[in-house]
């Protein structure tokens, strides 16, 4: 009998270790800002640098939900996020036109690149036009790995296919991962396939991949990030003050300076270029 009680007590002791959960949840609700953003801003580590500064300065607590741009905007359109940091311009314009956002401000850009195996079976290396390169990939039937997840990158990829005029959907050489950028790059590397990637994620993963940059510098490959506050008139529960504070911070001198130098130390070149205050057209689309 005693033993059984001893074991029960031991279990109770073990259990009591866990009885104080979730004490961290004690912040006032309006201090929370839900930021729905793309995986690239989190996976590159940029937000890990910017958010602590913002939080310290303003006292807000940012809950970063890193998803594809498509899902981020879907969250915004349902009032389930306060502020968006996304890179899917056409979808963003529709988001604004539908009255889901308050203001859409340019934050930064980097660029997309077409990467593929060093053997380059479609011989696209050094081509100047992304659409021409896509045409060649299709013509040679080389495997192309698409994100297929409604992310900003996926949207850009479809734009380029459209510009190339090639039929790609349902083709045997056109495959979709449905995964994030990092995983899609890994799959492309493993299958010796071509894919479209944002430069930041590619640079961050380069060492393990064995994929080369084959096409870059075309205007269509520009990757532009905007910050958008979700419309509180449509969704009264949205924390607009917090969203605005965050958006203001992203375009402030201070964070723009950080963006300018972020990644230089680690990758030899910046991952993003600050653009606050500029016009989208000035970037050369």
């Amino acid at each position: 009998m005693k033993r059984k009680f001893a074991s029960m007590i031991l279990f109770a002791l073990l259990a009591s270790l866990f009885v104080f959960p979730a004490t961290a949840a004690a912040q006032p609700a309006q201090k929370n800002v839900i930021l729905a953003t793309t995986t690239s801003t989190q996976d590159s580590g940029l937000l890990d640098v910017l958010l602590p500064i913002f939080e310290k300065k303003t006292g807000y607590f940012v809950k970063t939900i890193a998803v594809g741009s498509g899902q981020a905007m879907a969250m915004g359109a349902k009032g389930e996020a306060d502020v968006l940091l996304v890179h899917s311009p056409a979808a963003e314009k529709k988001f604004m036109a539908d009255g889901n956002g308050v203001e859409r401000r340019l934050v930064m850009h980097n660029d997309f690149i077409i990467v593929g195996p060093p053997s380059d079976p479609a011989k696209i290396k050094g081509m100047k036009k992304a659409a021409e390169a896509f045409k060649k990939i299709a013509a040679t039937g080389s495997v192309f790995m698409s994100r297929g997840d409604n992310s900003g990158t996926h949207a850009k990829e479809k734009d380029i296919w459209k510009a190339s005029g090639v039929k790609f959907e349902g083709e045997k050489w056109y495959q979709q991962t449905g995964l994030g950028m990092g995983q899609t790059l890994a799959v492309a590397a493993e299958k010796k396939a071509y894919t479209l990637a944002d430069r930041g994620t590619y640079l961050a993963l380069k060492k393990n991949l064995g994929l080369d940059i084959l096409v870059e510098g075309d205007g269509i490959l520009l990757n532009i990030y905007h910050v958008i506050e979700v419309n509180p008139k449509k969704w009264p529960k949205v924390n607009f003050a917090g969203a605005k504070a965050f958006a203001d911070f992203m375009v402030s001198r201070e964070s723009q300076d950080i963006i300018k130098t972020f990644g230089v130390e680690k990758y030899g070149s910046p991952l993003f270029f600050p653009d606050a205050g500029k016009k989208e057209e000035a970037l050369g689309i």
Binding site: K4, F20, A22, I34, F61, K63, E80, G182
Partner: protein, 232 residues
Amino acid sequence: MDIILEGIRQAFILLVTFDAEVLGITWFSLKVSGTATLISLFIGMSVGTVVALTQFPGRRFVVSLINTGMALPPVVVGLFVTIFLWRNGPLGFLEILYTPAAMILAQAVIATPIVMGISLAAMQQLPKKLRLQILALGATRLQMVRILIREARLPLLAAVMAGFGGVISEVGASIMVGGNIKGYTRVLTTATVMETSRGNFDIAIALGIILLLFAYLINLVLTTVQQRERPR
């Protein structure tokens, strides 16, 4: 292969240097999954015991539901919990989406059917005559249940381990309802997913090893308790 060795090396470094972030994440994982397991024990064992010891119409259907619940995919639980907890969802007033509380809730939903199903089986496999004997000796119903639970404690501890193992290792629900927020809702599994997509495979492996290590330690304690007596 190199990358696995590098991962083991990283895990060792992170552990011996008491890396603050990794320790924080580990402790938080144990707290969330431990609390969820406790909740699931409370609900799972009581319902499992009641269903095991009583007869009622539709009992077989209820048992089949419980057993199906043991196979609940965490990501489906995560999806439903998220939708319920949305600001504009039915439980939005709680304002707990993307908090540890939401993670505990989702994990408890995952673990409860597991604990329930195993407790049910454990209580049901006790000899029927044992009940009669206990009652014949003049025990009240409550005393009888207590004795039966004590008799079934070996498989019941297995239920604890299965429930805990199910939630500490799941990632789908935790990432959806918790959001993998740094220093707030990041647990070992969601951190592993993130480091993998960042291409930091060595750190991802290290986190995986740490997760296994702690799961092992906890199960070691439970197993010691369970196996204290020699098999009859």
